[in-house]
């Protein structure tokens, strides 16, 4: 009877050891997966945030360069929102492209100059927290703030002579 008890006790300890080892393995796996998922989520969020800000900046810089002709670029203010107005030239000179920030997104709208424009019209381009234009002479500074409140800026020098800079008020 005594031997039977000892054997049973030994075997219980072995099972307990194996089970606790298995438990350690499971917990470690869980911790690793949690850390990995958190890390992946963080990197993905950071990459998206960076992509949105950098793409927006380069998009606007390229737009400004492509419209860098006398009198085609102006920054106006409509209902308290800064709008970059890029007028078309040639056969479609009656149209203009409006780029502005509204409701967490950069918006763009290509529309006829004769049609009334309201903030919120157009297509959402990319999500950013803030978009600020600062014009001084032929130099335009673009400042974009992302969802983490990090601001990045870029400077564009317009080579065309017609641009006088400054921000004008316009009717909505």
């Amino acid at each position: 009877m005594g031997i039977e008890k000892a054997v049973s006790k030994n075997s219980s300890v072995d099972v307990l050891c194996a089970l606790s080892l298995f438990l350690v393995f499971s917990i470690s796996s869980l911790i690793l997966i949690t850390i990995g998922a958190g890390n992946y989520k963080g990197i993905l969020g950071e990459t998206n945030r960076s992509f949105n800000v950098n793409s927006s900046l380069h998009y606007i810089i390229n737009k400004l360069h492509s419209y860098d002709r006398s009198g085609l670029v102006s920054i106006i203010e409509i209902d308290g929102t800064q709008v970059l107005e890029l007028s078309e030239s040639g056969d479609i000179s009656g149209y203009h492209t409006m780029i502005y920030h509204h409701d967490g997104y950069i918006y763009e709208l290509l529309t006829s100059k004769t049609l009334s424009f309201k903030i919120g019209d157009g297509e959402q381009i990319l999500p950013v927290s803030e978009l600020v234009f600062d014009a001084s002479g032929n130099i335009i500074t673009i400042e974009i703030t992302d969802s983490d409140s990090i601001t990045k800026s870029a400077v564009v020098c317009l080579k065309s002579v017609g641009y006088e800079g400054g921000i004008n008020n316009a009717q909505g």
Binding site: A18, N39, A154
Partner: protein, 154 residues
Amino acid sequence: MLKVNRRFAIRHLNSFFQEIIIVILFFSLSCAIIVQVFAKAYITNLETEEHNGAVLAASSFCEVFSVRGSLSGTVELLYGGDAVKFIYEDSVKIPLDENFCFSQSGSYYLTATTRAAYRESGNVVYADLVIFKENESLFEVTTSAYQAKGAALE
């Protein structure tokens, strides 16, 4: 009979125990590799962010320099009057913070060295721009501005 059962139980447990140890060993190795992969991904992400910032800072510098044609005019417009004191003759070394804005105690640096090529109709001023961090170059570019004879740039 009892002895046979006991031996069988011990052998069975031993093989389970060995299997678990091998699994844990394999897990530890995988764990080390996975942690390294995540760390590398994080570092790559930071480096990408640094490069993007450096490209934007260099692009802004080139934009202004191509119009102004001088280090003082470019530096003053981009980084303010305080940064002008970092200009030494035909070169400049400006400390920048992690957002690539002018900061006296910044860990990033923007250096630019100008050289002129004389032509009959005027000068072409080149600026060799390097943005670096702790002696490691992040981005290098050369920009130029044309100065017509008798016409002063802004």
